[in-house]
């Protein structure tokens, strides 16, 4: 069992947990993920590592309450335990040799983008961060990003904070203005990563995207997390759990990935409502 050492509510739907898992804390690097189960018979969900504390042996995860499992997870408090917590899985984000990088995070994806920005900042790279949210209420980690970035642009869809608009606006503006990034690293909703990739394409900047497909084992056994890459005109199948989660944005078939992400949509909505009803009953 894996104990929750610290819990912090970042916004009404986003929660930060520090979970005691010394072996994982000892190994995890930016870009890698863990898989957890909240309780016996629960589903296995992958969550990207948002930070580690090797001395305390804890792993930080930041997640959004979107379905039944994250709802159950949000009911756990400090001192409670999780059934399973395994990792670190996947390949760490490739950062070697990068000197001038644009990090583009969207929503809860910013939680995963932050350790990458911090690692680059520590390496002495010039970090430009663009973080986007639907509205001011959902903003997270602004101060942390500011500390790790030379330039920070905060965007909201409704203009309730920072600048109004999508994250692609400042990216396009900077690239247009002659900014020569070594790489754009983007983490967030699939549709955002797709458009970040399209925005960067005319300028020939390498784009790394962090894929977060449905997974079960996370160790290269089930193949559920597969995605299609278009490499030199050929379609090839890759597995996000062992080949990723980072991929070359120009190669990823985003439309297929988005459709696959919706595969259990109806089931998930139903399960989420059931879980919410259970908690409501408990409260009554």
């Amino acid at each position: 069992m894996y104990q929750i050492k610290k819990k912090k509510i970042l916004n009404p739907t986003v929660v930060e947990l520090h979970v005691e898992a010394p072996l994982v804390a000892n190994k995890a690097r930016p870009g890698q993920f863990i898989i957890l189960r909240v309780d016996e018979d629960g589903e296995r969900i992958p969550l990207t590592v948002a930070g580690t504390d090797k001395e305390k042996g804890t792993v930080k995860i930041i997640y959004q309450i979107v379905g039944a499992t994250t709802k159950k997870l949000s009911a756990k408090e400090e001192g409670d335990t999780l059934q399973d917590f395994v990792g670190p899985l996947g390949v760490p984000t490739h950062l070697d040799g990068l000197q001038n990088v644009c990090i583009v995070g969207g929503g809860v994806g910013c939680a995963i983008a932050l350790p990458i920005a911090e690692a680059l900042h520590e390496m002495g790279a010039r970090v430009t961060s663009i973080i986007g949210f639907r509205s001011r209420d959902l903003l997270i980690l602004e101060d942390e990003f500011r500390a790790a970035s030379c330039t920070l642009r905060v965007m909201t869809d409704d203009g309730s904070y920072g600048e109004k608009g999508n994250v692609t606006l400042p990216l396009k503006e900077m690239l247009e203005g002659g900014e020569r990034f070594d790489a754009v690293i983007t983490i967030g909703p699939l549709v955002m990563m797709k458009f970040v990739t399209l925005t960067a394409k005319p300028y020939g900047v390498p784009v790394t995207v962090s894929m977060n497909p449905i997974m079960i084992d996370g160790t290269g056994m089930c193949g559920g997390c597969r995605l299609t890459l278009n490499v030199d005109g050929k379609k090839i199948t890759k597995f996000a759990c062992v080949d990723g989660p980072d991929f070359n944005g120009y190669e990823v078939d985003f439309d297929e990935a988005m459709a696959r992400g919706r595969m259990y949509g109806a089931f998930e909505r139903h399960a989420y409502e059931e879980t919410c009803n259970l908690y409501k009953k408990e409260v009554q």
């Binding site: 072996l23 994982v24 190994k27 189960r37 018979d41 629960g42 589903e43 296995r44 039944a68 499992t69 059934q83 399973d84 917590f85 395994v86 990792g87 670190p88 899985l89 079960i216 084992d217 160790t219 290269g220 056994m221 089930c222 193949g223 559920g224 597969r226 995605l227 299609t228 379609k235 199948t237 597995f239 062992v242 078939d253 297929e256 459709a259 696959r260 919706r262 595969m263 259990y264 949509g265 109806a266 089931f267 998930e268 399960a271 059931e274």
Partner: protein, 470 residues
């Protein structure tokens, strides 16, 4: 007095039409009377050809002799000396090509039902004997086992019985490997696997779940922690796909994923936490035991119609005869000499938000015929021109084998693998790294439970010899 009936005792089974709708075990097992009657068919041959056919060398005539005497626990004692998982082997071993294929009674009639007798003995023990196994005196040597599937559990069990301090590292949350995520409940009840794992724990084997060797810890770190030898039984790994258009559609699964969702994650329950697509029309592509398991699971999950799509003919089906027969009895349709060329999906050009977009609607296939034999002597399937046709489907399960998992290879310096990614070992199971042994699918690619157990056994002996001699 030997029973000279040329026919063996039939295995009682659940009625096909009933079992097609439940996950209870198909085969029900012999009664005591049936077991003794079947045991009496054994001629107790002096040269014991059956033992030569057993990958773990169970002393078959000796345990059958005990059954004849009605000493079922005595029979169990004999099996347990050679096998760490008798209740499992009695169910999933392909005995017809192993021990039973060598049985003298098989020359003029049917061979002795050795597998059925093994299962009877193991079940009898598990039902009536509560004694914990005696924990042997410890020899102080520590061994790490990677993976808790059949090879790992066998290796761990054999070493523990000889007094080694064994820790098994399992990546998933439950021990058992393919026995729990792959083989379905109706063929191998999970309670039986759990019982065998409990028996090993009572022998002193420690099992650490949620540890991925190659990620959480490396093989080198295991040595740093004081383990003196490491056995890698990490299994086959990445599922293969055909590389045809449409394999990324919703409703296309690898057999591994489909079975894992149903078995390990219990998607067959009424209100599961992990979903799987149920019902509708399902095609399973492939002809091995895993394909049969997937097809029969789909049926039990409520499919209207299940097809096995295989490019060769019935004769070449790699699955066990018994599994093919069971599948047919349950109503699974075999589309033989048929090869998929494309999986078709729904696409509404007018409404990108149509919830059906991206889901499977069917599969385009071509008819095949068998041509000249290939280098392995199997007749090569050749496409018949202009034979394309479409099947209407909701779910497609690809069951066309696996490729070795890259995790351990990538993080273990000096570990030699072959062109197909399998770990290279010598006859003792020793890899290119000193004190690192391997066995099972990680070495051979997808194979049987019992061959993996045989490899675990061989490595356990080599590890014991190496550490005790040193």
């Amino acid at each position: 007095m030997a029973n000279m009936n040329p026919k063996r005792n039939e295995m009682p089974t659940q009625d096909p039409l009933v079992r097609a709708h439940n996950f209870d075990e198909v085969a029900l097992g012999y009664t005591e009377a049936q077991a003794i009657d079947e045991a009496n068919r054994c001629l107790s041959c002096k040269n014991m050809p059956c033992v030569a056919g057993c990958p773990v060398k169970i002393h078959i005539p000796a345990f059958i002799e005990k059954i004849k005497e009605g000493d079922f626990e005595g029979a169990y004692g004999i099996i347990a000396k050679s096998s760490s998982l008798p209740a499992v082997c009695g169910r999933v071993c392909p005995q017809e090509v192993q021990c039973e294929s060598k049985c003298v009674r098989g020359i003029k009639g049917e061979s002795v039902g050795i597998g059925r007798l093994e299962r009877f003995v193991a079940d009898w023990h598990n039902t009536f004997v509560a004694d914990d196994p005696v924990r042997p005196a410890q020899n102080g040597h520590r061994v790490a086992v990677v993976g808790s599937g059949p090879s790992g559990l066998t290796c761990a069990g054999d070493l523990a019985k000889r007094g080694f301090d064994v820790t098994v590292f399992e990546a998933l949350h439950t021990a058992g490997g393919v026995l729990v995520y792959g083989i379905p409940e109706f063929r191998l009840p999970k309670a039986i696997v759990a019982k065998e794992v409990e028996t090993l724990k009572k022998l002193g084997v420690k099992i650490e779940t949620n540890v991925v060797i190659g990620k959480t810890l490396t093989v080198d770190e295991l040595f740093d922690q004081g383990f003196e030898a490491v056995f890698i039984g990490s299994g086959a790994g990445l599922p293969n796909f055909m590389g045809i258009p449409g394999e990324g559609l919703c409703g296309v699964y690898s057999a591994n994923e489909f079975l894992t969702r149903s078995n390990l994650m219990k998607a067959y329950l009424d209100a599961p936490h992990t979903p799987v697509m149920k019902g509708g029309r399902v095609a399973v592509v492939g002809g091995g035991n895993v394909a049969m398991d997937a097809a029969r699971t789909a049926l039990r999950l409520g499919a209207e119609k299940v097809f096995i799509v295989y490019r060769r003919s019935e004769e070449e089906l790699p699955a066990r005869r018994e599994e093919v027969e069971h599948a047919k009895e349950e109503g699974i349709e075999f589309c033989l000499l048929t090869n998929p060329t494309e999986i078709l999906g729904y696409h509404n050009p007018d409404d990108p938000r149509d919830p059906k977009n991206g889901f499977v609607t069917g599969m385009r296939c071509v008819r095949m015929e068998l041509g000249e034999p290939d280098e392995r002597g199997r007749r090569r399937p050749v496409e018949i021109p202009n034979s394309a046709f479409e099947m209407a489907l909701d779910t497609v399960v690809m069951s066309i084998g696996t490729s070795p998992n890259p995790l351990i290879k990538a993080t273990t310096d000096g570990l030699t693998v072959n062109a197909r990614g399998g770990i290279v070992v010598n006859e003792d199971g020793l890899t290119s790294r000193p004190a690192v042994y391997a066995g099972g699918d990680a070495v051979t690619g997808a194979a049987t439970v019992i061959s993996a157990m045989g490899a675990g056994k061989t490595a356990a002996k080599a590890i014991a010899d190496a550490l005790l001699d040193a």
